[in-house]
Subunit: 288 residues, 2 copies
């Protein structure tokens, strides 16, 4: 497995792979890899002949009061993990490589970024879409892999790729969970043991929502209030609980089509997100 | 020469060319082709093995009170002209091909788009950068060709390509002029015979500016006032006369480095632009 630290290096690697007729997959990450990332790398390895994992803690997607400085950096373990899973090259640029002078050009996706995490984290998605556009242009993959855990990000990136005609496909892979149900996240390591125990309430609330829905509850407010009680009862401080259309991300009052239930909750100073998709018919299970 | 009306068609054409090892050049236009476009196509034909000319009157770069509806459309002549100059394919999509649903994703270049035409035409450059990003992703050229007549556009597109790491090169080609000096423009055909005669004052003012500069004048205000007198004397209504840094497009008071002199002037209801670059040393003549 190679490690490319510069844009020239990774372009050279990808060019060689492509000349050999290989299909190129990209898994963009900020490192601190866990089994969620692992599932993306494995999926890429199944579907592509040459797998690029990018590791870059992108400063432009963090707000001034967010955790950019203390975001976990575990490069050596990440490298070993990627190698074990069959990645072909890691692209690990410095901030100077990615932003050699003040960034003047921004890619913005309107409306889809207004609610949910976009409301709590102004500028976050502008940073995400801009760095993804850069990575897509640098790596020029055939397919890029994202996790459903960041549901809004997946919708936004899909829309960006469609609207700007990037010549590539976006694949969104299912959430990977700890044995007790907590969604895998690089930020889980911020949790104290007590917070870690409480945090499982996110998953439990979503499972309760699923059950309420399966029993016929279609009113978003009722579903939300039930979840709110469970999460607050467990000691979580709610940032948002939203029930929105799966594609437009617009609020839904009564569930009549594929619908995203998304939650963001603080445990201490750590903000975690999770979500599930409610489908009315069996066939809708493949909406992703 | 082929004509591709859909994104699939043009991608198919380019894929074949690339598989044959050809270097691909793109000349993005809005049609109504003149010798200025012709020089770009000829340059592309010199430097590339496969020349794509796109013809698309892009609605998103016109303001609500601008000339989108009456912008000249001369498709049959354009096709004949491209063929004569050695283009390999014309990409002429419909608006539905380019914008199949409401565009949510926009590419914006900050600061460089604040002044000059950006100040007079709010939203114009957002439309230009977004459609160019789309065209670059659809055609994936090795090189794209732009005219120096749209000087700010050239600076903005260069910066976009650099900031977003598009894997391609931007070439900016010199202004092509009528025998009397008027810069070629698709909008020249809007001019009445009387306006057409007056319009040459743009070129004459820029030539006067060059002479003032050659004689040692370095104060932007003095140069501007001399041009203003000439243009207003000839009956032009000035939108702007700006003397700005050639790269940052920030106003310059005293000329000490490569500097852009840019003018926008109305003749009747027709708005024309023109520019020249002032260089202190012979070697700076190649700044473009």
């Amino acid at each position: 497995m190679n490690i490319a630290a510069t844009i020239n290096d990774i372009r050279h690697c990808v060019r060689s792979a492509r000349q050999a007729g290989k299909r190129v997959g990209l898994v963009p990450t900020m490192g601190a890899l866990h089994a969620g990332h692992g599932s993306l790398i494995e999926q890429a390895a199944k579907e592509c002949d040459y797998v690029v994992v990018s590791i870059f803690v992108n400063p432009t997607q963090f707000g001034p009061n967010e955790d950019f400085a203390r975001y976990p950096r575990t490069f050596d373990q990440d490298v070993a993990y990627c190698q074990r899973l069959g990645a072909d090259v890691i692209f690990a640029p410095t901030a100077e490589q990615m932003y050699p002078h003040p960034q003047r050009t921004w890619v913005e996706v309107e409306k889809l970024t207004d609610g949910l995490c976009g409301a709590s984290r102004p500028g976050h998605f502008r940073g995400v879409t801009t760095v993804c556009a850069k990575l897509f242009n640098i790596v020029t993959p055939d397919v890029a892999y994202f996790g459903q855990k960041d549901a809004q990000q997946a919708v936004v990136i899909r829309r960006m790729v469609e609207d700007l005609n990037f010549p590539m496909t976006i694949r969104v892979c299912p959430i990977v969970r700890e044995p007790d149900g907590l969604a895998m996240s690089s930020r889980n390591r911020y949790l104290s043991p007590a917070e870690r125990q409480k945090a499982v309430c996110l998953y439990q609330a979503l499972e309760t929502c699923r059950r309420d829905f399966a029993q016929g509850c279609r009113a978003a407010n009722g579903l939300i209030e039930h979840m709110r009680g469970l999460i607050e009862g467990a000691g979580g401080r709610i940032d948002y609980i939203c029930i929105v259309d799966f594609e437009t991300l617009e609020p839904v009052e009564t569930i009549t089509r594929p619908t995203l239930v998304a939650v963001a909750v603080f445990f201490g100073s750590t903000r975690l997100i999770d979500n599930c998709v409610l489908c009315l018919h069996q066939t809708e299970n493949n909406v992703q």
